[in-house]
Amino acid sequence: MARSWNPHAMQPHGPARTRTAPPQVPDRFWSAPRMRRYLLFDATGLVYLLIGFVILRAVWALGDGGEAWARVLRDYRNPLYLLFHAVTLLSVIYVGVRFFGLFPKAQPPRIGPVKPPPRPVLHALLYAAWGVVTLGLLLVLGGVIA
């Protein structure tokens, strides 16, 4: 059925005029499929936090010279790190796709004189930008450019 979740939710600021029962949420509030997808979306934040530390470690090592750098690169070949990077990639794709889906309706009808392009155009632009940046990075990392 339902259970008490947060006694402070939507409580008025004045004194209660009669005794109320605390706010409830339905039993399946947090476990409903749509909510689960949203919680996963939010939970990817943890992944980004962790990948941040991973990147920081590598950047720090750069400052400590060639040997330190080589050591970090060796560590990161560990299958666990590779798995973690794969998870990060999947998280980014999941968040990207979900965010791109919501993006068009998050555009105000106009900003000053400028109106946003129609939804399919926006989607196309977003995915195109993603594609271009990804391609660019791959070319850099692959040594083809810079």
């Binding site: 059925m1 339902a2 979740w5 939710a9 109320t20 706010p23 409830q24 509030f29 105000p108 009808p109």
Partner: protein, 249 residues
């Protein structure tokens, strides 16, 4: 009259003078196939148990009184067909609100949040009626019209995970209403409202769950309003850094 199919209703009961905590009560009644959930509740109140308290009025999905959680989902009970449900229907008061009695919740907090966004036309100089109506093109009207359709039923508050966790969050309907006025070509108060949005309203607590828009019976799309409002509030803040505002807020 031939017998109609029966359904079982498990309804939350709570009388603060008698009950420590809410409990449920079960009713089994014959239901007409074209009934809405509200029709069943009214039948129970009229014919079976007059002590059941609930709010309702228009029964045509425009007054916003009859919001409740039905089988775990926030619904306008006057608009929701009983045919969508099986033999057992659970009816609870709207989630995330303190419960006053049975299916009646306290929404004074919503009224406070509602008022705090200054939901009225703000103009530097009031226009006199002799000057005639303001000119507004159909396009300017379309910019905000669907955000003005909110019937204050608060289903969005019952669905929002942030409302469930963060008491100070303005919430979907209040933000959508403030945004409606910000977009209205006749209004000049966006700067004031954006300050509220950035400050005590904490609209940035919204993290794109989109649950509000999923449950809104009027297709107001409050999620769109909140996220548009975020962008405009940030732009307004940036503009304020570069071009200082005249006078106070």
């Amino acid at each position: 009259m031939s017998e109609l199919p029966k359904k079982t209703f498990v309804i939350t009961r709570f009388d603060p003078d008698k009950d420590q905590v809410p409990k449920t009560q079960t009713y089994e009644i014959e239901c007409r196939p074209d009934w809405k959930v509200l029709d069943a509740i009214n039948f129970i109140k009229d014919e079976v148990d007059p002590t059941l308290s609930h709010r309702w009025s228009c029964r045509m999905a425009v007054c916003g009184s009859c919001g409740m959680n039905v089988n775990g989902e926030p619904k306008l009970t006057c608009k929701t067909s009983l045919a969508e449900y099986g033999d057992v229907v659970e009816i609870e008061p709207l989630a995330n609100f303190p419960i006053v009695r049975d299916l009646v919740v306290d929404f004074e907090s919503f009224m406070e949040k509602f008022r705090s966004v200054k939901p009225w036309i703000i103009r530097a100089k009031e226009k006199a009626p002799e000057e005639g109506t303001c000119s507004q093109s159909p396009e300017e009207l379309e910019a905000f019209r669907h955000f003005s359709m909110c019937i204050n039923c608060m289903l969005c508050y019952a669905a929002c995970p942030v409302v469930a966790n963060a008491p100070e969050f303005l919430g979907p309907a209040a933000i959508a209403l403030g945004h409606r006025y910000n977009l209205d070509s006749r209004d000049e108060g966006a700067a004031e409202r954006n300050e509220i949005f950035r400050g005590e309203g904490t609209i940035f607590e919204c993290s794109y769950a989109n649950e509000c828009s999923e449950v809104c019976p009027k297709n107001v799309d409050p999620a769109a309003a909140i996220n548009q409002a975020k962008l405009l509030a940030v732009l307004d803040w940036a503009k304020g850094l570069v071009l200082p505002r005249k006078g106070g807020s």
